[in-house]
Symmetry: C2
Subunit: 189 residues, 2 copies
């Protein structure tokens, strides 16, 4: 029996991604989001949604680019902090002790200590309601060599990304392998 | 040291969600996607991206609505099957033995056996490249009573959603709790 919980942004899983940008003073900023996802294969694009009031909103509009750094579980507290404070009030890189690195492809910084980084060029934005959706073309994916598998792909348990459980407000890690995609479904024909 | 892996749709985590729709004959269809996410808080909206060639593409355009059913890990093979076959060739509900339920809010079916369902009214679509991005307003979230916690929220390990590791093409479950959001970051100030 299903219970109706009403119209709300309640789904799982959602990601925990840290969006890097520079403000008008050139100060690096970083904020954590859960509203986002891949939105096109070619050109490869990633979408993120932000409130207009966010410091990062103006930064992206001004500089037409952003990065997404994927925190590993060991940096859960830092990632959480990046979602609590505003870059208008504090330099979150300085306070957390993490290192901003200037992207050589877009006008935005990423987090050196996080294992996986995407550099995105803004190609479209669309206002929905409280949130503006940004669509960024992924110009490069940079990954720590130490988290690559033998095929040169990120190994999910080495990257150790976070999953956000909306509503209960807990971060989780990634669990066991359940099966191979494009394979375990073949039993149905 | 970070290695540059090029411009590609490589990020983790991505979700495993099953999109329900009716075709022009009224036959229920279901397809699995990983390109999507929440995109606005108010109105609550969820975005999914599809290729124009997909059967579901025309269905959503014609009927201006879709559902997203979240498969639990025990239905990983069914979810995988929904991403392999086209509803033009087979009735995937019939072949998998799962049950389509007509939404009473949008003109689309959802999967009775999956623990969590969102009913979405199409409010915008945008062509990017290979993919069209659909933005759907979430009209309701329906959740099996058996997976609700004592506060009436979905308990993530009871829902047991899948995570998709792009590139390595494996499904994973959800791991241990890492920390409380808006809380563990407070140690930085």
């Amino acid at each position: 029996m299903k219970e109706s919980l009403g119209a709300q942004t309640l789904i799982i899983p959602t990601p925990v991604w840290c969006v890097g940008s520079y403000d008008s003073e050139g100060q690096p900023n970083i904020m954590t989001i859960a509203w986002g996802g891949i939105c096109c294969s070619d050109p490869p694009c990633l979408t993120i949604s932000l409130r207009k009031s966010r410091h990062t909103y103006g930064n992206i509009m001004d500089r037409s680019g952003y990065t997404v750094s994927v925190p590993s579980s060991q940096y859960a507290a830092e990632a959480d902090y990046f979602g609590i404070k505003s870059g208008r009030d504090v330099n979150k890189f300085q306070e957390s002790g993490l290192t901003p690195v200037k992207s050589d492809l877009v006008d935005a910084p990423y987090v050196a200590e996080f294992p996986m980084v995407l550099e995105c060029k803004l190609i479209h934005h669309y206002e929905i309601g409280t949130h503006t959706q940004f669509i960024g073309e992924i110009l490069d994916v940079k990954v720590d060599e130490s988290v690559l598998d033998e095929d040169g792909n990120p190994e999910i348990h080495l990257v150790s990304p976070l999953i956000y459980a909306t509503k209960s407000h807990f971060y989780h890690g990634v669990g066991d392998q359940v099966g191979k995609a494009y394979d375990i479904g073949k039993k149905f024909g």
